[in-house]
Structures are given as structure tokens and as C-alpha cells.
Amino acid sequence: MKNFITLVSGFLFVISIVSAEPKVLVIDWPVTQKLKSSMTVLSARSMPYPSGLIDKANAVHLPVYLPSAYAYQETLQMVGEGDFYTVTVPLSAATVFITGDRTYQQDSNAVTSVSTLAKELSFIRAEGMVSVDFNRHGANYTLSIECDQPDDDQRCTQTRFLQQVYADLVLIGGQP
């Protein structure tokens, strides 16, 4: 009998490894809701958000952050639903992106030797782009900028511009 149970649990274990569905992280909603109400007040402006943006943001099940300076730009494009979103903002000779995602693909025990750097906030310049990965409320975000002139445009040769965009992110939506 014991052997039979071992066999069955082994079988179930194999099944759990084989199923490849994206797995979902837990979001800290109470903190998010509190933040949202305070930040909405801070970001209150006379201009409305681009049409449909808030509806799209509220169809996403994680907190939706946008660069406040561009949140009202009609040319921004938001895609996403459920567990992720990406906002693309075309600027003059550059593009800013922010993406948020609450899925995870690997348990770290499957991936050996991950540096603790993974959890440190750092602005990096790679492949001509400046970017930063960060975690808020349990979800993971990437903010980045890509330039027409990666070697000459200061927005892509230095991290200062993106640091400013990062400091001014505003929470506009997302629902449990």
C-alpha cells in the first residue's frame, strides 16, 4: 500500500513539473489601493488621460504604472490584459516603454547560481538602451528607453533621464 502511494505521488509530482502554464505571483493589493488613492491626488491635473486608457488599465490584474510626464500623451499605446501590460510612448527620436507582469516562469531552485544582483535596483545601459527592472507590490516591471542615436543621445548614453522618468511613475489603475 505504501509503495502504491509513493508511486501515485511520484506520478502527480511529474505532472506538476510537466504542465507549462504561466504561474502567477501574489500582489499586495491593500498597499496598492492606499498608494493609488494618495497618488491620484498628487497627479490630479486638468487634462484627461487618453481615451480608453483607464478602462484598459483596470482590465489588468496588477498595479499599472505610467511615466507621469507622458501619461496624457495621445500617442501612447497600451496593450495587455490579465497578468501583464506594456505601454509604449513614442518621443522625439526615442521610445519609452514600461511593462508590468505578474507571472513567473521559474522557481529559483531550478536555476542555480543566480547573483543577488537580481534583487538590486540598477539602471543599466545595454544594447544601446537604458533600462531598469524593479519589483513593486509583488509584480515585476521593466522601464526602458531606446533611441534613434544610441551612441549620441544623452537619454540613451546616460542613466539620468530614465532615473527621472522612474522617479515620476504614477499609478493609474489595475484591479485584483
Partner: protein
Amino acid sequence: MTRLFIILGVFLLIGSCATRDIPEAEAVGEIGSIDAYLFGTPGKLSPSNSGMGRVGDHYIYAPNIRFPLEKAPAYINSQVYGVGGLHGPKGKGQCDARNYQYPWKDNYCETRSWKMPLCPGGKGHQGVDIRPASCNKDQHWAVAVEEGLITSVGRYTVYLRGKNTGTTYRYLHLNAKSLAVRIGQKVMRGQRLGLVSNNMGKAKTTIHLHFDMKQTLRFSDGSSAKVFVPPYSSLVDAYQRLLSGRN
């Protein structure tokens, strides 16, 4: 006793339902033995002064993806340390025949100045560089490795988020005018995205596809982080299927 068997039976039934959608040939775990004529070892960078890869990591982070170029042959090797590269032998430049030869050479984690949590030195190349069949730009199609959504298009980058896995794949240096997709478009596995080129805005690069994969790792304390994971073993697996017509 009978009750126990019924409970176990129900469990097995649930288990078998959960696996129903998984294709039989799906690769899970590590890459098996590979043809040394075609492929260098995952994590072994070449030349040896080009940096330190993830030696011993043969895990397939993106099982069952399609190869990102529509057609074989394609050659994974260094753009920086290869012939004609910044730190490579001069030869006949980037089109030197030695760049268009097997075996592939992994270049994930190749020496770079930026942070990379999965690289042995904490720094390195975020993905791998792939040369298409010939040294001609704007001729060879890059295709979607997985069914998914084009989440963004930048100045020289296309972002694809895989529907079934949540992995973000980046395709760099496609000819911007050749792009066959736009932001928000759903694409099928194998669908054409754009032509491999040397587009890096007004900066210079060689004719190649830079391909990388970003995934979220969850740690044992429940925290998580998004990182670029090694694509090489997944690409070897995908290429083997491309060559044998099992796409």
C-alpha cells in the same frame, strides 16, 4: 481502503486532464546529447578570452519554441570576437566564411559592461547573436518563436510576449521598414516578424539577429525578479527540430 482508492483515482483523473494539452515531444529539463559538428557546448564561450558563460547549465528555459529564423542554416557565434568583430581577427570582415560555419558558439554572458545576474561574473551579454544563412541583410525572415502578442516595437527592437509561457522575447536589429507586425498584434508561432538586418538606429552593428529571453524567477522567500535567461539550449533544441522538419 476502498475510499482511499477512490480518492487516488480522482487525483489521477485530475492529473491526466491537466496534462492533456501538452504535446508529446515537448522538451522538459536539460538538452540531451548534441551533435558536436553542429553545436558547441552550452555555456562554453569562444574564443576563450570572450568571457565566462554558464558552464554546466544545459537547462531548456523555453521548451518547445520555434527557431527564431524562418530557415536554416543559421549560425550562432560572436559578433564582437568573431572575424571582423571589434576584438576579433580582421579577416575579410563580418562576411568572412568563418563566421558562416558550424559549430555554433554560445555567446550568452560574453563580456559586456552591464549587470547580468545569471552570468558568472555578474556582467555579460543578455542574449545570443545569430547570423542568418548568408551575409546579406534584408533577406532572411525572423519569425515568432511562440504564439503571442507583439507588446512593443522600438527603434530597432521587437518585443514578443509568449501567450503560453509569459516569457518576453526580444528581436533586435530587424530592418524597421520590413516589419510585418505592429504593436498589439497577435501572432502565431512561426509568423514572420521582419527581415534580419544591421539596424541599430544611427549606430553601427553587424548583420545579425540579437535574440534574448526574459523570465521571472521566484525565490524561495516568495520574492521574485525578472532576468535574462540563457537562450542557447532552447535554440539548439529548436534548431534540431527545424532541421528534422518537426517544427
